[in-house]
């Protein structure tokens, strides 16, 4: 079991020794069971921290803000930022390292093991409780969740309400960390590509109309992009409204701005945005599932990314986020790479 006390202790130590600039973890929203990211700046605030099955947020994307802040400030405080990460989150740190977006000592990592469970999917929980309102959602013993409803305790088998990504997780244990809490217990992921198998069986035109339906709902609120630990570009190629204009931007560059996508959320523009994003995440997406979770119109974005993940694995034996020293997927070429799919 991950001990919350130990977590607090570690965070307190890191803050009071001045080792970290601030610490990002999770805290409850009001008195409810749901959680949100918490920025802890003082050692005495560590009591706000929680660790529950509702800590599904990937906090790594906050490193982008920190990086931008540092670039702006004259004399930035360059101490590392502290983060709580799960297995999937830790892999996204590895990708950032691989892409040299951050350096290892920019971040102080407290890794938590998901042990025999993971994080929950709220929709699944609600369905399971069938209208009952949970007061608390906690880790149970040995592969279960403990939900308090009407002051009653209900044990739920983890697979019943686990987030889809946890069901398909290749490593439920942090692969990079300064401190690790909890035990490294291997949970057999079963079929790692279960969620896409139904879609892979669709005929091409069927798939096309499926995605057309999905994308026509997109609001282009860009929540998916904002939450993504990999979407850190200052100017996204899909942006047509805002782009980074700095002192270095020349008039020529400004004139040469390409508008690949119009701002209006029409189907053609939405498709362009999503396909570009999917391609740009190939070999980079660690399947933290955040984009799908935050989408207000429930577009199943994981399917796209999972498919790319599978292709990378099957075609090139490439696994994302396990080794910060390996070259990124699209930047590595080996003589024995398969070529038979090139027609």
């Amino acid at each position: 079991m991950v001990s919350l006390d130990q977590l607090k202790e570690e965070v307190k130590k890191a803050l009071s020794s001045g080792k970290v600039k601030y610490f990002i973890g999770y805290e409850n929203i009001g008195s409810g069971w749901q959680v949100r990211p918490a920025f802890i700046r003082q050692p005495e605030d560590v009591d706000r921290l929680v660790w529950t099955p509702a800590c599904f947020h990937n906090l790594v994307r906050f490193l982008h803000d920190e990086k931008r802040r540092r670039a702006r400030e004259k004399n930035p405080d360059i101490r590392p930022v502290g983060l709580v990460v799960k297995g999937c989150d830790s892999r996204s740190i590895n990708v950032l390292l691989q892409e040299k977006y951050i350096e290892r000592n920019d971040v102080y990592i407290i890794g938590v093991s998901c042990e025999l469970t993971g994080v929950i999917n709220i929709t699944k929980l609600n369905q399971h409780l069938n209208g009952l309102k949970p007061q608390k959602v906690l880790f149970g013993s040995k592969g279960t969740f403990k939900v308090i409803v009407d002051d009653r305790e209900i044990e739920i088998e983890a697979p019943d309400i686990l987030a889809d990504r946890c069901l398909e997780c290749p490593a439920n244990f942090p692969v990079i960390a300064d401190v690790i809490l909890g035990e490294e217990i291997k949970r057999n992921p079963g079929n790692r590509y279960q969620s896409i198998s139904a879609y892979e069986k669709m005929a091409l035109d069927e798939r096309w109309s499926f995605w057309q339906q999905q994308f026509s709902r997109c609001l282009r609120c860009y929540a998916c992009r904002s939450v993504c630990p990999m979407c850190y570009c200052d100017e996204c190629v899909a942006d047509s409204i805002a782009y980074a204009v700095t002192a270095e931007t020349t008039a020529d560059e400004k004139a040469q701005k390409t508008r690949w996508v119009e701002r209006n959320p029409e189907l053609s523009e939405n498709i362009f945005y999503h396909l570009v994003r999917a391609i740009h995440l190939a070999g980079r997406c660690v399947d933290c599932g955040e984009c799908e979770r935050v989408c207000p119109v429930e577009i199943p974005l994981r399917l796209l990314n999972k498919k790319m993940e599978k292709e990378a694995k099957e075609l090139f034996g490439y696994e994302v986020g396990f080794d910060p020293a390996q070259p990124p997927l699209i930047a590595c070429f080996r003589d024995n790479d398969p070529q038979d799919f090139i027609r």
Partner: protein, 650 residues
């Protein structure tokens, strides 16, 4: 403010036959910003070019589009014309309406429409072009030749005679290559060593040739005109300046290993000289054979004890020598196909089944038998010898699909020379067909048949096995359909010619391509046969394809001439359409650094930086950058987008 001129070429009927060129010109004249449009029968002709020059001057054009053939053909022509008219050459672009339009379509109205779209796209591109100046680099006036066979020797001599320095790198202890192992050479039957050794001596005495034997190329970086090469000089443990060739050492060396010069027919000592006329004239200690080299074993040191001049130095260390060169000639030659692949012919099993080079050694006056043809097994003179051609060649199913080219000729030579040595013997040759294209080659084969009574049997051999001291050869004569059985005393296999061992690693270091069979790939099979795809690297000899001596020498001189064309210049010019980093978009992820095939990009202070001299403008970086932060000048995503829009009529 944009003033573009459009020039539509008929290319005789090549374009005008399928595309309504007048209509293309008329439509383009209406395109916004086009102030001049005309068509002409041959734009590349002098009058055609003059039309462009005149229009630029008179109409004050600021950009030019020539709608004609592929830019690989006349881009330079039209850019030069543009320059002559006082406009920056990079303000001129080609719209390819021949290869990409007229040649691939039939229906005139549609082809015309497509030609209009293509040209419109290029108009939109060219008006966004920057005026660029060529990048220029100085040239290192020195050549590297890799491989010291006859091809490498010839290339080195030609380049050095023209006044440039040459570094000749040979991996074995002596230059000479396979030619030094041959007895007499077809079609004239002159002694191979006699014509080769003067050239070897010339190399060793040439003031501008630096010979590096027992050395290998370890790393190559840089680009045409400015390659940086690391050469590994392996220790020979013998100081060639002190060695007097007294040969005392080999008399005391206790170790005997197969002699590669005699193709394993004899043995040599761990300390050895490959052959008496070896260049450099010195001994080498074979590290792998000498027990003195293993730190676990008791050092023997017998050779050092008897070496009066004290030439032996067990402490010699491998050395890395770094050199700068402007051009490289690769002449690494061939090896014979691995004979163990031919179990059905009993090679390796029966001592009297030989390959062609072993037979050359038997024929050679300096060979193991002093030029007498004797069986390795019992030293008796063979009276019936079967020669089998195309062993491993022309066999797409099991071995190699190509023809090894030289085997027909050397087999005729072998059979003929055998008859010259053994007058009462009989030579049989199994062949698929005889390929004797070459000056005096056909006559040579006829001589073997008519004057020397060599029996040519058209067909394949299925098996060779031993029976009662004889080698039984089973074959079919496909002309008569009869089964043939010959009880032979010796069998000689004309093994397929393969690229020399280690060719693929060397090709990787040089970043040059191999063809499907593993030989070095030429840039164009007809028009650029001595060039590799990488500029500044040239090919010579059997490394590019099986070749005989005259062809190898001819190609070597060709490669030398190509290398000299580079070395004779003070500066090389390089296209300025190279990649540029948009620094504020670059996050320094380094993906472009790893994908660039020319190693032109590095990370400096967290941002990508392009070396304009190394960059070939291929655009690979641009395709890999997730942020469009690296773009090829005059072909940015913006250019591409505007071209697409114009093509689609948007």
């Amino acid at each position: 403010m944009k003033r573009t001129g459009v020039f539509v070429c008929h290319c005789g009927i090549n374009i005008a036959g399928t595309v309504d060129v007048k209509k293309v010109a008329a439509e383009l004249a209406k395109h916004p910003g086009v102030v001049h449009a005309e068509d002409y029968v041959y734009m590349c002709s002098d009058p055609g070019q003059n039309l462009i020059i005149q229009a630029i001057k008179e109409k004050k054009l600021d950009s030019v589009v020539v709608a004609c053939c592929s830019p690989t053909l006349h881009e330079t022509t039209f850019r030069n014309a543009t320059k002559k008219a006082g406009l920056n050459p990079y303000r001129c672009e080609i719209a390819n309406i021949r290869e990409q339009c007229s040649w691939v379509h039939r229906e005139k109205s549609k082809a015309t429409q497509k030609a209009i779209s293509i040209t419109r796209g290029v108009v939109e591109k060219v008006r966004r072009n920057e005026s660029l100046e060529d990048v220029s680099v100085p040239v290192t006036k020195r050549a590297l030749v890799i491989g010291g066979g006859i091809a490498g020797i010839q290339a080195s001599l030609d380049i050095a005679d023209a006044g440039y320095e040459v570094i000749l790198v040979e991996k074995s202890p002596s230059i000479g290559g396979h030619m030094s192992q041959l007895s007499e050479t077809f079609p004239t039957l002159d002694c191979s060593q006699c014509i080769l050794t003067p050239k070897m001596v010339e190399v060793s005495k040439h003031p501008r040739i630096k010979l590096m034997t027992y050395s290998e190329v370890q790393e190559v970086s840089g680009y045409v005109g400015n390659f940086k090469v690391k050469i590994l000089k392996k220790p020979t443990y013998v100081d060639p300046d002190k060695c007097t060739l007294c040969d005392e050492c080999t008399k005391v060396c206790p170790i005997v290993v197969p002699n590669e010069f005699d193709m394993g027919l004899t043995g040599r000592r761990a300390i050895y000289i490959p052959f008496p006329q070896a260049i450099p004239a010195s001994y080498t200690i074979d590290e792998k054979a000498c027990p003195g080299m293993f730190d676990t074993a008791i050092a023997c040191g017998k050779c050092a004890d008897v070496c009066k001049p004290g030439a032996i130095n067990f402490d010699m260390k491998p050395e890395i020598v770094e050199v700068d060169v402007g051009a490289i000639v690769v002449a690494t030659g061939y090896d014979l196909y691995d004979k163990s692949m031919m179990a059905e012919y009993g090679y390796g099993q029966y001592p009297d089944v030989l390959d062609g080079l072993q037979f050359e050694r038997l024929l050679s006056a300096s060979g193991p038998t002093g030029g007498r043809i004797l069986r390795p097994s019992d030293k008796k003179e063979p009276k019936e010898v079967v020669f089998i051609q195309c062993v491993g060649s022309r066999d797409p199913e099991l071995h190699w699909p190509y023809c090894s080219k030289i085997c027909c000729m050397y087999t005729a030579k072998h059979a003929m020379l055998y008859k010259h040595h053994v007058h009462d013997g009989q030579a049989y040759v199994f062949y698929i067909d005889i390929r004797s294209g070459g000056k005096n080659y056909e006559e040579f084969v006829h001589r073997a048949v008519e004057e020397d009574g060599v029996l040519y049997l058209r067909g394949k051999v299925s098996r060779v096995f031993e029976d009662n001291g004889k080698l039984i050869v089973w074959g079919v004569d496909t002309l008569t359909g009869k089964q043939i059985e010959i009880a032979a005393d010796m069998v000689v296999l004309a093994m397929a010619i393969r690229p020399s061992k280690g060719m693929d690693e060397l090709a990787k270091k040089l970043k040059i391509a191999l063809d499907k069979d593993g030989f070095l790939a030429e840039a164009h099979p007809k028009l650029r046969p001595v060039e590799s795809m990488t500029s500044g690297i040239f090919l010579a000899g059997a490394a590019q394809a099986p070749k005989d001596i005259p062809e190898a020498v001819g190609q070597a001189s060709g490669a030398a001439a190509k290398a000299m064309a580079i070395l004779s210049r003070d500066r090389l010019f390089h296209s300025p359409t190279v990649a540029r980093v948009i620094r504020n978009l670059c996050t320094g992820c380094g993906m472009c650094v790893s994908v660039c095939p020319f190693e032109a990009i590095s990370l400096k202070e967290g941002k990508a930086e392009v070396n304009e001299i190394l960059c070939e403008g291929c655009g690979t970086c641009s395709a890999s950058c997730l942020r469009n932060a690296i773009q090829v000048k005059n072909l940015t995503p913006h250019h591409i987008q505007e071209m697409i829009k114009a093509c689609l009529g948007g």
